[in-house]
Amino acid sequence: MTESPLILLLYNLARGPLVWISGLIFIMGVIYQCVSMYKLTQKQIPFMKASQLNDPDALKFDIKQTVLYTHPVMTVVTSVFHMCLIIIPLFLLAHNILLDQSIGFSLLSFSENISDFLTMIYCVCAFIFLFRRIFLKRVRIISTFYDYVIWFLASAPFITGFLAYHQLFNYFWIVTLHMILGELMIIAIPFTKFAHMIYFIIFRFFVVNEYSLRRLQATRTF
């Protein structure tokens, strides 16, 4: 191999210890965030009588109030984007081979063609977000430099992964960059704006509020 010692060192670090370090920071960060979010909630006294719970009208969810009605296209784009964000790295063949080699355990894998296709879809969604941010005044006026950094962190690992798979540019450099960016993103999830992933799950599914799935049950409230 004719690569410089520095890039070799980075490659070995990114392929070995940094994977475990980022995974560990991610898990600790998620636990920390869950505990802090839980601390912000309080015990809720049931605000509906048992008889009202059987009333189908009380359980009706007005779809006109949701983004599915006001932004059908963005609902599809954002759902597909977030779904791909989770399933592509988890079920990617190359990731699972590496996992198998290091701990002798791996998940199911998509065929390479499916992963490649999903990555393209993911990149298209990411660019829709970017163009919205740049060209739509309503998004632009509340955007900051930090939003672009977050966009970069979310898209770069997938773009570099796509380039590496197709062996475009210098494979060794691209794949090293891919691993480092991916690890940075994993570390960033619990501590940056990406924490909305954790927030969404907790506040839309587990805490009572008007739009949460538990809105009619006695549990905790924000």
């Binding site: 109030q65 949701t66 998004v139 939003d147 909305h196 506040f203």
Partner: protein
Amino acid sequence: MENLNNVEQTIAVQSQDTCQLLNTFKDKMTLSLKVCAHCTLCAESCFMFMKNNKDPHYMPSYKFINSIGVIYKKKGNLKRNDLEKMKDIVWKHCVLCTRCYCPIGIDIPSMISTARSYCRAQGVYPEFDEIY
């Protein structure tokens, strides 16, 4: 006299009460501000936005970023000018009807209401005959 007015306009606004108010809500507000993805999908749920020709300045996200967002960003060290700028946002552009809907689950009305409490504590509120 004019000089005096200028001084008043830029004087820092802080008091024990308002510091306490900011501390009480700090964790909830800073978390909500942090996780907002700045996506603007909440805009259409606000009738003020819809009735004002979809003017982005009426979006719920614009309103909380430019009120409570500024308050926490500056850690409460605001000038009277800053508060005058957010007066219309918190009192006129939002009626706290609590109809705004954020797909991530952010409690937008509580953020605007905290900004209102802060403004009220600083004496920034519309006079009775100012109501539009």
